[in-house]
Symmetry: C2
Subunit: 275 residues, 2 copies
């Protein structure tokens, strides 16, 4: 591992590391915020999954989460959104390939060689975090848009690994909307039944663990009707009794200004479950 | 004026406008944060001047100031750092020309045609703000690096116009360090005595108004010794009895991670003077 950046931040440290990922088969960058409490003992970890086109930089620069993490004593871990670099497959469009890993494990060529973000985020990354920093194994996960999809799917697919989950503006039914359907066809193939394993609305119907889902969604989000459709998640959770706290926020859009406005509430939600 | 961006943020609105500036002779962009209180009455205004290479975007995206402005009921106004666009003089280097207006009124060709940031920030911009938004005439000013220089110089040069001033990592003695000397020679000419009118350390010796200066400076700032030299400001203020609260922060660097960490304290400082 190589430390690429280190900045003092709210009494702790905002670092960026490059690690050689086995799951991805390439070096990958990850933002790690160590709160002041990590100098004195082990802290819980909140993982953040970013959206389309993002790297590890967007969250660490714009979300204002360090302040809240320092208050509650949480480590923040923000991985990249896909493998990238030499030899990594890509395609035209911001919504497929580099910057658009969708937190799945691809099984179709040419994607399957490197696009294994689920394996990386769920197993390899926590093992590295918990073996490298003053982290305990209390894990929460959150994210935005494509990363909100990732957070919900990862928590629902992996009972027992996460104590808390939340999402901002998530793609709740990727099987049913253009962003998800395009990528799932490429990464997972044409068998639509298999897509359900990567679809929060489908998973909410079969989850064995009733982890409550906290979701914030801006009502002036430019992707609300075309790609996000939070009412699908409400319907899926109501049908199966899965606990959901869906908050619709008038006036807010899809940007980090929305995320920053409610980040404090999300961090507090995770801290209550993790501490 | 044209509204370029509008984002809901902490119960208020983070906008970006493009206005046709008479002082600059070109259209210029400015970030305006309207706190929730501005929907119900007039609010004081805190002006923010950014550093080299920045536009209006850096502060509004990275400083996390909206949260604090919403708490205290302050409008935030973040102008660009220089004129830019067709016909605006430029030169090689990030530290002169576009992105490096230094908040002076240039008198040398080719700069004097558009580089009149002092006139724009001190007179034209507040007149537009106070005539357009629910703003009263209680003004504070702050900034970072080149913008910290700008904030200190503008407050010291214009007694009675600002009720509060603060700076992060300011260039306190531009006449004496490479960043300032290069630009002052270009914008103001070779008469070094005239540079004192744009140098916070020189102005602190002659200011008729004893407005307290609040300055935060990171001790791991990569420009501390070469360009910033806060001890010069301490010496100048001690020599003349000008009130200075200089806080040296171990571990912190020159980045927005430093600014965000102490933005709450600066906004509270301004709010106490402005409200």
């Amino acid at each position: 591992m190589r430390r690429i950046e280190r900045h003092a931040s709210f009494g702790g440290w905002q670092d960026v590391y490059e690690i050689d990922s086995t799951a991805l088969g390439v070096p990958t960058r990850v933002g790690v915020y160590l709160p002041p409490q990590a100098a004195h003992g082990r802290c819980p970890v909140l993982y953040w999954l970013s959206g389309l086109t993002c790297s590890e930089q967007n969250f660490i620069a714009k979300a204002g989460a360090q302040r809240h993490a320092a208050e509650h004593g949480l480590i923040l871990v923000a991985p990249d959104t896909s493998p990238r670099g030499e030899g990594v497959a890509d395609a035209d469009g911001y919504d497929i390939g580099i910057g658009a890993g969708f937190y799945v494990d691809a099984i179709q060529a040419p994607w399957r060689q490197h696009y294994r973000m689920h394996e990386y985020v769920v197993h390899e990354l926590p093992a590295w975090v918990e073996g490298t920093f003053a982290a305990n194994d209390a894990r929460g996960i959150s994210g935005h848009s494509m990363g909100g999809h990732g957070a919900l799917v990862i928590a629902l697919r992996n009972p027992g690994r996460y104590r808390s989950v939340s999402a901002f503006s998530p793609i709740v039914a990727p099987s049913k909307v253009p962003w998800g359907a395009k990528v799932f066809a490429a990464y997972l193939g044409s068998d639509r039944a298999s897509w359900n394993e990567w679809d929060a609305c489908a998973l909410a119907g079969t989850a064995v663990e009733r982890l409550p889902l906290l979701v914030d969604q801006g009502l002036d989000d430019e992707f609300l009707d075309s790609q996000l459709q939070p009412e699908r998640l409400r319907a899926a959770c109501e049908a199966t009794g899965h606990p959901l706290h869906l908050r619709l926020r008038p006036g807010y859009d899809h940007s980090y200004y929305f995320i920053a406005s409610f980040m404090g509430e999300h961090v507090a939600h995770h801290a209550a479950a993790l501490s």
